[in-house]
Symmetry: C2
Subunit: 443 residues, 2 copies
């Protein structure tokens, strides 16, 4: 900071989030100064196109098409990177850090791919790289991990961290819409992109899981080793069968500390209607974090949108201006660049309960075959749901089975065997059932 | 701190929370050092009785009956006050602060009564007074207000901040138990004190509301001006009628920014089954916070118990050792001793929807009388529920009315008139219905 309490800021990228950030920086200066004693001074709004900036009536004197100028300006203390992607954004962040400027970013893809290298550059240059807005938008969950829950060994995290997917699933659950119909509705409401693949494939959730797990477990996490399944292949029939069994389907980013390593995965999962995450509906996000001392905590709010995300960006900016972010960034050894590598377990090693839907020819003896195969693989059946569904006999009739806790590798072997039976008409569906994580607190 | 990264600590008061804090400080030294680089050194466990300390196998070499010794020891950087109450605790904190020691406390009663004076003493002596554990136990909600949501103007807070009350209400809701039966069960489970008055009267919630509102709104708040109603007069019949109407009853600590001031109150309230607070069950706590930029966020977890509360205490302790707490304590002007006084509005000024239960003689024309009185006071009826309940005719039959938004002062006038009718058999019941707070975010 140039003067005590004054902080020169450049916002690079003026889309939804950048526009909201610039607007709050302009409009709420007095509120922020009153609350924190910090005087924030927005000096550049960098973009190629200022349509959004103009529609928000931002000061045209701040518009700048060349980010070099902001990076070279000694009055800029903090660069807020909101370009997105992993190319130009990366260059901007690296150059800002090397130029001795603190950086705030919401860029989960970049951090998931290159977090450790960027953290190292920041450390080497004596500045900080803050990223509260990269996970779950406005919810201060990154801070919970490095500050509020810092005395805890984190045992598990279960996150609903993609609002688009949660909105689509909520529509499927509450209105009985199929995936395609719910997606189209989300696109009409502006809650899904025209090309929704990053969201619905689960990849965006995996980016966030990489960041949260790195922080929570203090280990380097490899995005590429996270098995990812999206909601784009989810069928309404399974959503409904799940409801009948007392479960709500959510796209969960899951991180569990197990014997021998971490299990990280993103996939549609069933959770009990009693679990707080089951009630997170529409575009809202929430992250359940289980600490060894605190037990179960959960953080809920809007995971996207301009103004909620800007709230997180400004909290980072203010922590830099107040001096706490640089202090923690220097002292905390949990940032990825200094952390040992995590042992990421393959999903075959997970023990869980499962929901299976097998489409079979309606003939005698088929269920006995399924039960025998499951038994041979040490999988014990908890419940069976078989309904007379007259229609579509070509697809077979659904046999829904829930299992007791089983090893996923065993289950997948059994399913391969089941799917090769003559009486089985198509690939079976398998969805993990997430039980309430056991709290370890003893006192 | 004496050396960089080393921090001498005295735990004063070794009950449930003090014992858990001392245990985590002893047992988790390496975990904490690995996560934060801070070496915590527990030097004193001060109490008159060490039964609990011994049962936790804490090191008897640390036991000390005289707190003067800890306060006089230059190796003590931080005093953790867990004595409770407003007499000895106050003396210990004041002396520690004046002796240049940072203080961490979980003492909501003391802060609610004397927060501003204590903050001033801390400021005057260049040390910090931290109190994350004073509100909602292990949930990092105090931090959310001064850090994660710092860029927001806080518009409203709705908190379930007393686990004993929430446990009792959950039993009433889920098992249909009456208040006395549910309280007895809570006492048997160790979730309610033998003398439960502080909890069930709502006073403990009011202490926490005083602290949260001071922080959230940056104003001095007077505990004495907060209208407080507990759960001890709540009747099962109203819990059940509420459920029938789609509402769940919760003891809410409510803080709303209104035109002309703040409305702060603690009372049993109905919330829609769709609101996230509705599914906070058993001894768990949660606080919904609405910020002008972030919209609705919620923080959930255990609000009491040794180890969850110790998690919050240690987060404060580590912030002191890392230097961030003193930095923020110096710079943030939102602490009560520097804040202007809040305009606390009387509850007569609130606009809300209400649930009324009037016990009437089952005779023609009574309902018309009620409707006329309500109409005369500008209160419009939203729904009516009248059931044929044969029994107890001496008490009358219940007429349940929900209103559209009305001014509480008008409603209370109407109720006084209603209760003076010959056909009305006893004092009517009135419970506020809390609608989803409107988010102000526009972007």
């Amino acid at each position: 900071m140039n003067r005590i309490g004054a902080c020169g800021v450049a916002v690079v990228g003026c889309g939804t989030v950048g526009g909201a950030t610039a607007l709050l920086l302009s409009r709420d200066r007095d509120l922020i100064a009153e609350k924190t004693g910090v005087s924030l001074s927005l000096k550049y709004i960098v973009d190629r196109d200022f349509a959004r900036a103009r529609s928000l009536k931002l000061d045209p004197a701040l518009f700048e098409t060349n980010y070099d100028k902001a990076l070279a300006d000694p009055e800029i203390d903090v660069v807020i990177e909101l370009v997105g992607g992993t190319t130009i954004a990366r260059e901007i962040i690296e150059r800002a850090l090397k130029g001795g400027k603190h950086v705030v970013t919401a860029n989960k893809a970049l951090l998931a791919h290159h977090g450790p290298e960027l953290m190292k550059i920041a450390h080497d240059n004596g500045v900080s790289l803050s990223f509260e807005a990269s996970c779950a938008g406005g919810i201060p969950v990154v801070r919970a991990l490095y500050d509020g829950l810092v005395a805890n060994r984190i045992d598990a995290m279960y996150g609903i961290v993609n609002g688009t997917c949660n909105y689509i699933l909520t529509e499927m659950i509450q209105k009985g819409q199929g995936y395609a119909e719910a997606l189209a509705g989300a696109q009409r409401s502006g809650l899904a992109e025209a090309d929704p693949r990053l969201d619905v494939s689960g990849l965006d959730s995996a980016h966030k899981l990489t960041i949260l797990a790195s922080l929570g477990f203090g280990r380097r996490v490899e995005l590429e080793k996270i098995p990812v399944e999206g909601i784009d292949t989810l069928e309404l029939i399974d959503v409904k069968f799940g409801q009948e069994l007392g479960y709500i389907v959510k796209l969960l980013a899951i991180a569990q500390r197990l014997d021998g390593g971490l299990s990280l995965r993103v996939r549609p999962s069933f959770i009990s209607r009693e679990h707080p995450l089951a009630w997170v509906s529409g575009p809202f996000n929430a992250v359940s974090i289980y600490g060894h001392a605190v037990g179960h905590t959960m953080y809920y709010g809007r995971g996207a949108g301009g103004s909620p995300t800007a709230s997180a960006i400004l909290s980072d900016l203010l922590s830099i201006a107040q001096g706490t972010a640089p202090l923690l960034f220097r002292s905390l050894p949990i940032w990825p660049d200094r952390a040992p590598e995590a042992a990421q377990l393959p999903s075959e090693r997970i023990a869980s309960r499962y929901y299976l839907r097998v489409m079979v020819e309606d003939q005698p003896g088929v269920f006995a075959q399924l039960a025998t195969i499951l038994g041979n693989h040490s999988i014990s059946i908890s419940s069976v749901l078989q309904k007379e569904l007259g229609a579509n006999a070509a697809e077979g009739v659904p046999v829904v089975i829930t299992t007791h806790t089983a090893i996923e590798g065993n289950l997948l072997s059994a399913l391969r065997e089941i799917d090769s039976l003559d009486a089985v008409k198509r690939k079976s569906v398998c969805i993990g059932i997430i039980d309430e994580h056991e709290e370890t607190i003893a006192l």
